[in-house]
Structure formats: C-alpha cells, structure tokens
C-alpha cells in the first residue's frame, strides 16, 4: 500500500471512519452514545466541502437566514446524519430496528402490490433500514442505484456490510445499468433511485428543474426508465424523526404519459418530482444529506 493510499483511509470518505463507527456501535455503552455522536458531529464540521455544501443548501431552503444560524443548522444536519448511519450499522450488526410510522400507506401498498415499480427518493434516512422494511412487508426485493464509493477500501467495506434485502447497482456504466434495471422491473422488483443529486457520475444524463427558485439539474434516468418500463414513479421519503424513530412518506405516483415528445413528458414529470422534493426538504431540511456540491445552490 502506497503512502497516499494509506492516508486516504482517513479522508472524509475513507474507510477508517466507517470502521471506527462499527467499533463504537459494537463496544460503546448506550448511555455514552449521544455524547459520542454530539462530539463526532462537531468534529465533522471541520469537513469543509461538506459543510459549505450544506450551508449553501440551507441558504437556498431558508433564504435570508443568517450565516451563523445556518452554521448551527448545519450542525443539526450532521447530527442527524450521524444518528442515521449509526442506526444503519446497529441494524446490520445487531438487527435492532427503529419504530416506523407510515404516511401515504395507500400508495405504499399499491406500489408493493404491483409487479415492478420505480421508487424515487432523496438522500434522507437510511436505505438499508428502508430496504429491510420492504422485504418484511412484501415479497419483492429492492434494487438500489447509487454512485460507487471513491475509495476502494470503503467500497469493499460497504459491500461486505450491506443489508441482505438490498441489491446495490452502481452507476458506473449507464447503458449496462439501464438494461439491468429494466430487467429488474420486468421481474417484479422495485428499483430505488436517489433523484435529488445531479452529476453523480459523468455520462449520466440529467434534466433541468427548479428547486427553491433556483435552476438545478436532476437525473433523467428514473424518468426515462419509467417511460421504457411503463411503470409509475413513487416518491418515497425515509425521514428520521428522532432516536430509533423513522417515518416513511409515500406520495402519489408520478405517471409519465408516453407521447411523441418524450423529452417534454419527462420534463413535466421532473417538475412534479422537484415540487415533491421541495415540499419534503422544506419541512425536513435538517436531514437532507446532500453533501455534494451543486445541489440546490
């Protein structure tokens, strides 16, 4: 291992922090947990690019708010993120699950009942816990699409410790991925895509939209896939309400009408999705874990 590769494990996306979190979950007394999480959330405020992105997102969500107020809000985002990833690791290691609340149960049930669907979500809550919930409440498995980890060691760690109910597909090759996902939908699986982040991987197409009054580009993949597979898109948000308490919000499905003008149909659906995203993020800004630049900024 070269010196730079060794140092990379201590970077903000390095494997060291995931190993440390796992060690903490397996060894730390539960009454020490809030103190540990409060401290580590403060430590991660030193992560300048993540902090700046969250601050920029917050200034778009809450226009006119003071930078110092947004700094404390940024701490709250990191605090929630730390609890979310801690809950995820605790579930994987000890099978401890939180309490669940369901809003929009009718749509959720409808999605589970039909064979094959697209679940469009945002960087909120924990997809591992959500995937387990799906496998418990329905016979379908969930296929999650996400960007691969930059660090190979982190990627390997995540693959080793991922939930059984979850099949992860990485956005490395857009053509192969699209064919694979189309097949998964036709087999009756639910394909989950995070649709709040643009430019996940170079080569992945995107569409213009307006979020908090600002122009953004959102991934076009889910909409093109829904059109090709002739299935609706279900906006689903996994919101952390408090310690070991989550809410699954399922909104009305977005139907994409097949017309001669495919781009216009997709564009219309993207705007509906952007409105849904804006509504949930405005209420739950403290857990929009969008740490990549160019989100709502």
């Amino acid at each position: 291992m070269t010196a730079s590769a060794w140092w990379r494990r201590f970077g903000s996306r390095g494997v060291f922090w995931r190993q440390l979190l796992r060690f903490g979950i397996l060894n730390c007394p539960l009454w020490l947990e809030p103190v540990a999480i409060a401290w580590w959330s403060m430590f991660f405020l030193l992560w300048s690019s993540g902090r700046r992105t969250v601050m920029r997102n917050l200034s778009a969500i809450k226009p006119g708010s003071l930078a110092v107020v947004n700094f404390f809000r940024c701490y709250r985002v990191f605090w929630n993120y730390a609890w979310t990833i801690a809950d995820k690791v605790r579930f994987k290691e000890s099978r401890v699950l939180p309490d669940w609340e369901f809003v929009g149960w009718k749509h959720f049930e409808e999605m589970q009942a039909r064979g094959g669907a697209i679940l469009l979500t945002a960087h909120m809550g924990s997809y591992d816990l959500g995937a387990h919930l799906f496998s418990e409440t329905s016979g379908h498995s969930i296929v999650m699409v996400r960007a691969p980890e930059d660090d190979p060691e982190t990627r390997q760690f995540e693959e080793t410790h991922s939930a059984e109910a979850l099949r992860v597909e990485f956005t490395t090759n857009s053509t192969e991925l699209a064919i694979g996902l189309l097949g998964a939908i036709r087999e009756g699986h639910i394909v989950a895509i995070q649709g709040d982040r643009d430019r996940v991987t170079p080569g992945i197409s995107d569409l213009p939209a307006t979020l908090f009054g600002k122009p953004v580009r959102l991934p076009a993949g889910p909409f093109a896939l829904a059109m090709a597979a002739r299935v609706p898109i279900y906006p689903v948000f996994n919101v952390r309400l408090g310690r070991r308490r989550y809410r699954l919000v399922t909104r009305e499905p977005i139907e994409i009408v097949r017309t001669a003008n495919r781009e216009a149909a997709c564009q219309e659906a993207v705007q509906v999705w952007a409105r849904e995203l804006e509504t949930i993020v405005r209420t739950c800004w403290y857990q929009w874990f969008s740490f990549e630049p160019e989100s709502a900024s």
């Binding site: 539960l30 009454w31 401890v96 309490d99 408090g242 809410r247």
Partner: protein
Amino acid sequence: MRFVQDCPEARLLPSRFHFALARLLAMARSYATPPRPDVDRIVYAIDRHQNAAEHYAVSIWVVFSALPLKPAAAAAVSVILAPIVAQVPLVVVGVLVLLFNRGRMRDSVAINSAAGMTLLFLASAYFAQRRSPVRFVAWFFFVVVALNALAWVILTLMRKRIRQMETQCGI
C-alpha cells in the same frame, strides 16, 4: 425483535424501557389515553433500549455525574497510577460478568455498560464520604440508584398489570 402494529398504547409499554424508574414512569403515563398519531400506520419495536427520553436522560445523568468525579479522582490518585487503577475495576467487572452471567452478557456493549456503571458507583461511594462539594454529585447518584431500586420493587408487585398491558397490544 418483536413488533406491535397499530397500537398507540404500545409506545409506553414497560418492556420498551431499560431502567425500572423509567418503566414505572411509563406505567404511570400509560393510564392517560395516548393521543392517536396523525399517521396512517404505526409499528413499534419492542426493545428495552427503544425510548429516546430515557436514553437521553440516562446519558445526561451519567455524563454530569462523571464530569465532576473525574478530575477529583485524578487528583486523588497519582497521575502515573491513575490509568492503571482506572482499568482494574473494568477488568474485574468484565471477568465477573462473564463468570456469573453464564455468557448471557457476552456482547461488549453490555459488559462496558456494566463496567462503566460499576466504576461510577465505586467513585460515588468514595466521594460521598469526602468533604468537597463533589459529594453532592455522588449522593445524587445514590439517590437515583435508590429510587430505581424502589421502582423495581413496585414493578415486581405490578407484574400482572404489565402482562395485561402487553397482552392488549398483542405480545
């Protein structure tokens, strides 16, 4: 792990709390009709560490008890000996837990929790006899421990009622 679906009363089931004092308070609160949550469905996990209020309260209590005791302990024992001495109760408690609990508490979280609480108990026992203001922190620790023991006795007498509550929620 067990679950209770669509039963708002399950939120305050004593089996969702760890310490006897918290379980007793939950019992007292459960006599009032719980408000119906404004959601379509609800699923409660039955785990003794599930309640957030208890978790944060215990965390604050332990940390605020340990904070003033720690520098006092460091001053009491010499700087060189302090780290070694601090580890002795941890090791002793860990070995005792493994020996007498027949492997039921083999997980590190439970062992470390028990070791930490024992350390705090020993430190409080020592500082409760001193003349410094830190003795109030030590005595407060014992007051909470005594209340918890009393709550355990009351809960033991109410076990039929607890069982009835659990049956109503389907567990």
